[in-house]
Amino acid sequence: MKRFELTSAPVDLALRREELRDPRSGGFCAFEGWVRDENEGRAVSGLEYEAYTPLAIAEGERILDEAMQRYGVLAASAVHRVGDLKVGDLAVWIGVSAPHRDEAFRACRYIIDEIKQRLPIWKKEHYLDGDTAWVACTHGGHAHEQAPPHAREPASR
């Protein structure tokens, strides 16, 4: 299984979690992003994600590498849906395993923040009133510019 994946099919969460098992890990942290039923006061019926696949995968792998190096976690993976989703569907899943909980939480947060800032993925919201709109999020830099206070070298074995 690739560490960073784009898929138009539902995600097998149990499988993705099992892939991160490591006897050295004492903590596992996951984040799930779901499709919400409103955005900025407008009732949302569903949305579609479109990705520039080769660049999204390369950038996603870079983000996972950065998280592992910054926080010394043992394993990390992420999957982002593309195509049509409805309210309640899982849009993104991130999982991290690490020796201790602190680095697992921090790496998980880093990965979702950087995905939102950097991945070439676009979201078109469909509203209950029949209108649609491309959602313009912020563009650009890294969400985490500074080395975090708890950053350390990856565990070496």
Binding site: K116, Q117, L119, W122
Partner: protein, 80 residues
Amino acid sequence: MTRVNLHYFAQLREQAGVGEEVVDTNAETPHELYAELRARHGFSLSADALKVAVNANFSDWQHALTDGDTVVFVPPVAGG
């Protein structure tokens, strides 16, 4: 003239009316190329709202375009 491949996404795809096209251009950089394409397709986004990727890597707007380059103008992203 330089022949480049263009792939469009999100609102740029909708405004161009196509997902991709091959263009022969006198533009020497992505910056010049975007100005040319914006005039032709009526793109609403200005270049400073975009990033650019050449051959599937984020690139500089002053990158020297060469024959066969694949260029993607990246509108504001919204993953997650």
